[in-house]
Amino acid sequence: MLHSLFHKSALALVILFTAVSVASAASVSHKREVLTPAGSQGIQAFQAEDGEDKPLSAKPTRLRDKSLTDAESEDAAVMTVRYKPYREGSGEARVKD
């Protein structure tokens, strides 16, 4: 009787622990998508040493078409806008003098 009770308790514990650890593993894999800034802690060992050098540019290779919410100035006398890049054939068609 005692032996059977012990077995049942052990089984229940195993099931409970399995459920908890499966849930924990799922949450870990969910967090893996987050980008982690390593800062000045240095480049980590697994990274290749000969990475591709790519300078940034103010001149985009194509038009800046990703959206970004711009904060508008609270001061009515000051308006801040982001430049809408010129696209040939768009906007006002009036020819410049």
Partner: protein
């Protein structure tokens, strides 16, 4: 009895796999890529955006600290794909941006992004110096553009008001200002430089 042993065995195997799953990463570092951002400019970078090339928005800022001149930051565990990057530097006078497109992030590789002074866009401010007229439209186009393109403002700039325009590629621009009353104003070959706020007075 035999079935019970089988159930216990299966449970033990499941337990082992799930515990191991807590410690073994499904996307281990050697299956992800990295981006290293080197600030070789005089500006302090305060935001870094990294979005998949096919994504239509930049998402949230990835930096949790400022990146000062001669400093760098490494972004790890990036799922391999093609990405676009944008950085922002907020200076004393204005805010400037720089871009890199189609970055091929691949497993076990680090893409190095070097930021120079010339990497950044420039800004422009226009003062309405009149006492009664409002600016109702502003057209800003590269000097060699054949037409005037978009109206850049979404509401009038009143008398005494100021417009700040961010994120212009360095180069020469022509500017046309339309007033609520009176003739239009024109500025030709206005030079926009990286990390510089150029000021125009309109009346």
């Amino acid at each position: 009895m035999k079935n019970m042993r089988m159930v216990k065995l299966v449970l033990l195997v499941l337990l082992f796999l799930s515990v191991a799953g807590c410690y073994i990463e499904i996307d281990p570092p050697w299956l992800t890529g990295s981006v290293e951002l080197n600030n070789r400019s005089d500006a302090t970078i305060d935001a870094f955006y990294l979005a998949r090339t096919d994504q239509s928005y930049w998402g949230s800022n990835r930096l949790d600290r400022l990146v000062y001149p001669d400093d760098y930051v490494v972004f790890s565990y990036i799922t391999p794909n093609d990405y676009d990057a944008m950085i922002r530097a907020t200076g004393f006078f204005s805010t400037y941006y720089a871009y890199a497109y189609d970055l091929p992030v691949r497993s076990n590789l680090t893409i190095v992004l070097n930021v120079y002074n010339s990497s950044f866009s420039g800004s422009m401010e226009i003062f309405n110096q009149t006492e009664t007229a409002s600016i109702i439209a502003i057209y800003v186009v590269p000097a060699d553009a054949p037409t005037w393109g978009y109206n850049q403002i979404f509401q009038p700039v009143g008398p005494g008001g100021r417009l700040e325009m961010l994120d212009l590629d360095p180069g020469l621009y022509n500017i046309r200002i339309v007033w609520s009353s009176g003739p239009e104003s024109f500025f030709y070959d206005v030079d926009i430089e990286s990390l510089v706020l150029t000021t125009l007075y309109a009346d």
